[in-house]
């Protein structure tokens, strides 16, 4: 399985465990990330999970493009505090109406923080770290959010500072699993990726 190397330039040797300070150091060296992902949405109503594929582009300066390629084409663009959502329909990109925008904005902000290793800055989740192997960061939501999310687990790969997958558990037995692959670290890409769908 692929993984997001969030500290690819720091060390490429496999490690069996990493303490919190060196993990944080690894995250600090990331300027940009480009990766593909495979998302499995497990719902009690469905026998088989709903599988989506996509990609994301991230700049540590505060930009994120989180894009689904199938089965729906949609994109969330974050640049600083601004978040815009679009979907592709009837041959054109269209800006989304407000459904679930707040929840999606919150998740985008959280993802940006995870990619920078800033788990302790979350206003929604408290964190705990277990060195493993594999290293795991467990995010637990506060009152209110726990009606929707019970926990988020970020599983690190055996390479330092590498996220292998994210597992989100919800009340009622639903869950989301996002696995990353084909990662490029500190690659350069055009800034218009964060401006236009």
């Amino acid at each position: 399985m692929g993984a997001v190397t969030v500290a690819g330039l720091v060390a490429d040797k496999p490690v069996h465990s990493q303490d919190w300070a060196s993990l944080k150091e690894s995250f600090r060296n990331i300027q940009s990330v480009k990766a593909e992902f495979l998302q499995e949405r497990h719902l009690q109503i469905l026998k088989e999970p709903l599988v989506s594929e996509g990609r994301f582009f991230y700049l540590a300066s505060g930009s994120l493009r989180w894009e689904y390629l199938s089965p729906l084409q949609s994109v969330m663009l974050q640049k600083g505090d601004s978040v815009r959502l679009y979907h592709f329909s009837e041959g054109a990109w269209k800006q989304d109406m407000a459904q679930g925008v707040e929840a999606r904005r919150m998740v985008l902000a959280e993802m940006s923080q995870w990619l920078q290793g800033r788990f302790e800055e979350s206003r929604i989740f408290s964190y705990s770290y277990s060195q493993g192997p594999p290293g795991r960061i467990l995010l637990t939501p506060g009152e209110g959010i726990n009606r929707f999310i019970l926990s988020i687990e970020i599983v690190l790969s055996d390479r330092p500072g590498v996220i292998d997958r994210v597992e989100i558990t919800e009340p009622g037995g639903s869950a989301t699993r996002i696995a990353f692959r084909n990662v490029e670290i500190n690659a350069s890409f055009l800034s218009k990726l964060f401006d236009e769908p």
Partner: protein
């Protein structure tokens, strides 16, 4: 002159309003074969099923639109439906169950949290996936050879299935005005149309394009 113009405008308005109230003329049907009635029923899944659709919705033409994922599970024998609407990221925006005419909303996020929305959505889902419970009030073939089956409800509204070059499910109110109309496109995968376009006219117009992503009996 001014009075004449006002009178003309007034008459035109009255005519237009009346046109909107007119019922459609009753279609004269030739008796159909028993297989024709079976063909109407075959538009709906016959046993328990579940399916996933890509839904492209247009609420105001040229204006508000969105794309969602829709999961629907049904059991025609028990008149049961379970529907979930999700964003592309997998956030649940709406989830409801329906048994007979009772709707139980399990989860609803604004702007999908109104009673009108849940009632309208479950009506759409029932129209598309649940076969009418009773036998038809009328069925047969129209002059152009199309198969037509019609079910009338106690409140005077009626559901029609028309099978010709296009397969159509319509809902008309007690005045005969078209409320909703769905065009189903082949191929049918496990009893489910691969493409469906639903147009709602009353009380508020909107358009849904459903593309079947998966279906299991």
């Amino acid at each position: 002159m001014n009075f004449k113009r006002k009178l003309k405008t007034g008459l035109f308005t009255v005519l237009m309003l009346c046109a909107g109230c007119l019922s459609i003329p009753e279609t004269v049907l030739r008796p159909g074969a028993p297989e024709d009635l079976e063909s109407c029923a075959a538009l709906f899944p016959s046993g328990p099923w579940e399916c996933v659709h890509k839904i492209e919705a247009v609420i105001q033409e040229g204006g508000m639109s969105f794309s969602l994922l829709g999961i629907t599970k049904g059991d025609p024998a028990d008149r049961k439906l379970h529907t979930v609407l999700l964003t592309p990221e997998g956030f649940i925006l709406f989830e409801a169950e329906q048994i007979e005419d009772t709707i139980l909303v399990l989860k609803a996020v604004a702007p999908f949290n109104s009673t009108a929305f849940s009632r309208g959505l479950m009506e759409d889902v029932s129209l598309l996936f649940l076969p009418p419970q009773e036998g038809p009030s009328k069925w047969g073939r129209s002059a152009d050879g199309a198969i037509l089956c019609q079910w009338e409800s106690p409140d005077g509204s009626r559901r029609e299935i028309s099978l010709s070059t296009v397969w159509k499910i319509s809902l008309r109110d007690r005045h005969g005005d078209l409320v909703k109309e769905a065009l189903l496109k082949a191929p049918f995968v496990k009893g489910l149309a691969s493409q469906t376009e639903l147009r709602a006219y009353k009380p508020a117009p909107y358009r849904l394009k459903l593309t079947l992503l998966s279906g299991t009996p």
